[in-house]
């Protein structure tokens, strides 16, 4: 059983994955194409394209990757590098025809990067809107509670949908952003979940999509839980089990990972729920209890 209504934005074309970095270093376009195809075959509805810092120093390489991927799959792409020039290159290189009319995603726009919106003059696109930070007096400020996340999402959606470009709620993907739950002493995991709930129940935001970079949640944690089962995927699934019913419909993730709801009595689900409710340092300690007995020597 998987999550009904959950869609995958394939994350694997990213040098953060060692095997993908090798493909980039060797400029192995056939390998990149195979990775694109593997993700599409496994059900990815978009493919995220992240070539790292090379997007800036060598934007032509990003263009080549976009073209190579489009040559083998009709899946629409997400251009992951928040820079106007790089996005312009990608939008010009993107073939709407090859994507069977499906628009690409500009990843991403924040309240400090409104100039990106004018790329619409080049070609239409959908967009990832960053709700984890906001603009305040020209400064970039991190959001620290769910209301700030919700209000940032509202302002951004309002701004893009009232622009002259005919952008609708359906073109907006709100990234609420999550970090490693095992290092989160500031309640940011709970902020993300409560933000998703607030956005999901806001009728003005009906039709918008929500997404998180799911792998971030489980990094720096061990492989196995105390019950001998896998830990990381279940941490991710615990998050999804709470977030999907609240309205999150996309993850930046790996399409062949087993995303599925966890029962309430699963030890990871239980631990995750108790951890984020506890918050602060208690959250870290409760996460630890999922995989080790702290009193054991």
């Amino acid at each position: 059983m998987t999550f009904p209504g959950l869609h995958i934005l394939g994350e694997r074309i990213n040098p953060g994955f060692t095997s993908t970095k090798r493909l980039f270093d060797e400029e192995d376009m056939a390998g990149i194409q195979a990775l694109a195809k593997k993700q599409a075959d496994a059900g990815a509805e978009y493919l995220n394209i992240n070539v790292g810092d090379r997007a800036r120093t060598d934007p032509q390489f990003m263009v080549e990757v976009v073209k190579a991927v489009q040559a083998v799959v009709p899946t629409p792409l997400s251009f992951d590098f928040p820079n106007v020039e790089v996005q312009e290159y990608c939008l010009k290189a993107y073939s709407l025809e090859k994507a069977q009319g499906q628009l690409p995603i500009v990843n991403s726009i924040s309240e400090l990067r409104w100039d990106m919106l004018d790329l619409y003059k080049i070609a239409p696109f959908k967009m990832l809107l960053m709700a984890s930070e906001r603009e305040e007096g020209g400064e970039q400020v991190a959001n620290k509670n769910a209301d700030e996340v919700h209000q940032t999402a509202r302002r951004m959606v309002q701004r893009v949908t009232s622009s002259a470009y005919g952008i609708s709620n359906d073109d907006c993907f709100i990234d609420v952003s999550i970090g490693p739950v095992g290092a989160d002493t500031e309640g940011l995991t709970k902020m993300a979940l409560d933000g998703i709930k607030a956005i999901g129940s806001d009728t003005d935001l009906a039709g918008v999509h929500m997404s998180v970079g799911l792998s971030n949640a489980s990094i720096m944690l061990p492989k196995e839980a105390l019950d001998g089962g896998l830990l990381k995927i279940r941490i991710e699934n615990a998050f999804l089990t709470l977030a999907v019913p609240a309205g999150m419909d996309f993850v930046l993730g790996t399409p062949w990972r087993h995303y599925q709801p966890l029962p309430a009595d699963d030890i990871v689900m239980e631990g995750f729920v108790e951890a984020i409710e506890a918050g602060g340092f208690e959250q870290v300690m409760r996460i630890q209890e999922i995989y080790m007995d702290p009193d054991e020597d």
Binding site: G16, D53, A55, L221, V284, M285
Partner: protein
């Protein structure tokens, strides 16, 4: 004096034990530098185990908290004895980047290695790093960036530091950063994680 109980309390992150042991050691007028050494030794083991994937980020945070509890008691004693940390480190996330988890882990491990840490926070402009270096004269500056788009700000920061005529050693780190990139922007070192950053600082200090 054998302080292995204290070292173990830090490794295991036993905050109450650490507090009790440090407090007893102080009462018994044991050498404060040895009490400190026992705790730093504990954090070294924690760093080593973290690097080897034997322990994970919660254990590291819990150990650092136990050390902090001990240090809160020990610091006045160290100060009174005129024993200040020998080296200062300035740490911050570069301009345009609001991510602080990695940076905070580095701050924690630097403190665990008994460095005097000045944490400039996130979104720190090159000029702010330069000003802080002039004010505090640190041995080490640590730059953090989580985004591919803010990595170039590391280069801009190093350039600003060198243009100001400062030769402070600069370490860089963060998810998208690589050793090659660190070399290409003239950093003095690159660390893959917070524990490696400590090893690197010690190497740079003794070099």
């Amino acid at each position: 004096m054998d302080h292995s109980d204290l070292t173990n309390a830090i490794i295991k992150g036993k905050r109450k034990d650490a507090k009790k042991l440090v407090s007893e050691a102080i009462d018994e007028k044991q050498a404060p530098e040895e009490i400190l050494g026992a705790m730093v030794g504990g954090m070294d083991v924690v760093g080593e185990r973290f690097k080897n994937n034997e322990i994970f980020v919660p254990e590291m945070l819990i150990a650092a908290r136990a050390m902090k509890t001990g240090m809160d008691l020990l610091e006045p004693v160290l100060t009174e004895a005129g024993l200040q940390p020998e080296h200062k480190a300035i740490v911050g996330t570069v301009k345009g980047d609001l991510h602080d988890i990695g940076k905070n882990l580095v701050v924690m491990m630097f403190k665990g290695a008994n460095l005097d840490v000045i944490d400039l926070g996130t979104d720190v402009a090159p000029e702010a790093f330069v000003e802080a270096i002039k004010e505090h004269n640190p041995t080490i500056v640590g730059l953090s960036a989580l985004l591919t788009t803010t990595m170039p700000m590391m280069e801009a920061t190093i350039t600003a530091i060198r243009d100001a005529g400062l030769d402070t050693k600069v370490l860089v780190g963060g998810a998208p950063v690589t050793a090659d990139y660190a070399d290409s922007i003239g950093a003095n070192g690159y660390a893959d994680d917070a524990a490696t950053a400590v090893t690197l600082v010690r190497e740079l200090i003794s070099a």
